[in-house]
């Protein structure tokens, strides 16, 4: 089966490479977590894979198409099949939560307003924000804003969702709710989810597979069990730093 997303010999970074010549695949219907310490390049990798930042070299294939080889219009069309939940939620502060979540539907589809409103209501309920649609982003807590961002990222039922640190800085109960939502996206809506995280609890609750970055490269890939038993120093430290 063709992978939904492939990174082939990709080097990424801004002024200088943070990851060099890395390759991995994401299969349809799985939740894959990108792991690594601070500054290891996992968030930058997510931006590269989502078409927001060209790689320094190498090829990114999304839905079988070479993402950065496509002309801008074709790339924009392809990116409509993905959703991106940013670390800082990136909600439009001058719009209500309903308007934020419904924005992709209003801009990219010809659905009537009544259907858009119903879809927004349903998706807000899925992420646990039913009844809060009329509020402004500034009136929500950090966890609620992250859930609203997930609702917006998923409103078009994208085939692939990128989530950058969706549970960072949240209390365990709220974080567990977001983990549950991601699993629901995979199980019920058939979405593929690519998450950047370093929250071990969340990773254990959601990830089918993980790819770990350190020292500018991939140091481990596989299931969580594989990684937890890895003898690689960086991987061992990541999983067992608190055991000592």
């Amino acid at each position: 089966m063709t992978p939904i997303l492939t990174a082939c010999d990709v080097s990424i970074g801004y002024d200088r490479p943070v990851l060099e010549h890395v390759s991995f695949e994401v299969q349809r219907g799985e939740i894959v977590t990108l792991l690594g310490g601070s500054g290891s390049g996992k968030s930058t990798m997510l931006r590269v894979l989502a078409g927001l930042l060209p790689p320094l070299s190498g090829e990114v294939c999304l839905f079988g198409e070479s993402l950065y080889e496509l002309p801008p219009e074709a790339r924009a069309q392809l990116l409509q099949r993905i959703g991106f939940a940013f670390q800082q939620d990136a909600l439009f502060s001058s719009m209500t939560i309903e308007d934020n979540v419904g924005l992709p539907l209003r801009e990219l589809t010809k659905l009537p307003d009544s259907i858009v409103a119903e879809m927004v209501r349903m998706r807000l309920a899925v992420v646990g924000l039913e009844g809060l649609g009329r509020r402004m982003p500034s009136q929500l807590s950090g966890g609620q804003r992250k859930r609203a961002a997930l609702a917006r990222a998923s409103i078009l039922d994208p085939e692939l969702i990128f989530a950058d640190e969706p549970t960072a800085g949240l209390d365990p109960v709220v974080a567990a709710g977001i983990d549950e939502t991601l699993v629901q996206f995979r199980d019920v809506l058939g979405m593929t989810v690519l998450v950047v995280s370093h929250e071990l609890e969340s990773i254990r609750a959601t990830a089918d597979r993980a790819v770990m970055f350190a020292n500018k490269t991939i140091v481990a890939t596989g299931t969580l069990d594989d990684l937890e038993q890895s003898q690689n120093k960086a991987v061992f430290q990541f999983f067992h730093a608190r055991d000592a």
Partner: protein
């Protein structure tokens, strides 16, 4: 098995309509099913609508929303919508649809009187905060002058450069053009009475008492007042002001006093420059149109414009500086919540500054005329 092309067909059985759905019901195709169900909702004789999904392919949130909306609309008139022929994937999609909970009634809209009251209370709060800011600025300035506190190193100098030195060209150019325009307009009228020689008196008085201070204040409002409001507003939204407070550093001393001090220096300096450049513009026009030599023109200016006129113009410029600084800092610090509040603070800072500059100018003119 290939999914058939999207479409619907309707089968009638007495007071029941069965909608056979074919193909995917997703964002791009859900409108078809929506139109079909809406048409059936208008048929009053129907008691039940069955949506048969046996030949349906993928159903996404749009498809679920279409069915849920129709179900709710039919239920309102005591009719039913049933689903049939669902497979496991369809069931999973519909399981995501939550029970409809009627939204709570919106709170009663404000009456006109309540709105006016709210505005008056808001204005009162804003005035009180402005008063506190003025007092705190004076107190912190006194602390700095008496060396009990210090300003961030180099802050006044950097503000003088960014607010003042960078504005020299635009203030100079506009003043020169304004002086030229005033001279042109004046000479045309004065020549009708054979009084063209008074052009120097007119340009000198208008540049020193009105146009110099006013032109500089308006340019600084647009350039500096707006920038102060936007900068402090962004700092407020980004919790930088709270960070200063939490560190025990006075935001007024750290942010407001250096800006006010820089403006207090810049505005009169630029006003003085504007007066002389404006007069030079008038001098050029007088030389070209009236063939009046610069020395003659300058003698007319000096003969008419006295020290008191300079005091009047420069005195006003100090007040204008404080208006621009206080409007920018006060409204910037009051911004809260989101990016749009920064835009609002910036716009208000410009509007409020220009309004009060004109009001103060009118008050000055009245006092001087009456005295």
């Amino acid at each position: 098995m290939r999914t058939p092309a999207p479409g619907t067909s309707i089968e009638r059985k007495g007071r029941q309509a069965i909608v056979h759905v074919r193909g995917d019901v997703v964002v791009g195709t859900a409108r078809k099913l929506h139109s079909t169900l809406r048409a059936l909702q208008r048929r009053r004789e129907l008691k039940q609508v069955v949506v048969d999904l046996e030949q349906a392919g993928r159903i996404d949130s749009a498809g679920v929303a279409v069915v849920q909306l129709a179900k709710r609309n039919l239920a309102r008139s005591g009719r039913q919508l049933e689903l049939a022929g669902l497979d496991d994937k369809h069931r999973a999609a519909f399981d995501l649809a939550p029970e409809y909970v009627k939204p709570k009634r919106e709170s009663r809209p404000e009456t006109f009187l309540e709105r006016v009251g709210g505005l008056v209370i808001g204005l009162g709060v804003s005035m009180r905060e402005l008063g506190s800011l003025v007092l705190e600025t004076l107190r912190q300035s006194l602390n700095v002058i008496t060396r009990r506190a210090k300003l961030p190193a180099g802050s006044i100098g950097s503000h003088i450069i960014s607010m003042g030195a960078d504005a020299v060209f635009i203030v100079g150019l506009l003043s020169f053009l304004l002086g030229m325009t005033t001279a042109f307009q004046g000479i045309v009228q004065l020549q009708k009475f054979g009084a063209g020689v008074f052009a120097g008196d007119m340009v000198g008085m208008s540049m020193v008492r009105e146009f110099g201070p006013m032109m500089t204040a308006i340019v600084l409002t647009g350039r500096t007042g707006a920038a102060i409001a936007a900068e402090l507003g962004t700092m407020r939204v980004g919790s930088e002001i709270d960070a200063l407070t939490a560190m025990g550093v006075s935001p007024v001393r750290f942010l407001v006093v250096p800006r006010m001090a820089a403006l207090t220096f810049i505005e009169p300096a630029l006003t003085l420059m504007s007066m002389f450049i404006g007069i030079a513009g008038g001098m050029l026009v007088a030389a070209l149109v009236l063939d009046m030599g610069p020395a003659t023109f300058w003698a007319r200016v000096v003969g008419r414009v006295g020290l008191w006129d300079f005091v009047h113009g420069i005195g006003k410029s100090f007040v204008f500086a404080w208006i621009i600084g206080l409007a920018g800092t006060h409204l910037g610090l009051r911004a809260s919540g989101d990016a749009s509040s920064v835009g609002t603070a910036t716009t208000r800072a410009v509007v409020v500054s220009i309004f009060f500059i004109i009001v103060v100018d009118a008050v000055f003119a009245t006092i001087v005329t009456l005295s």
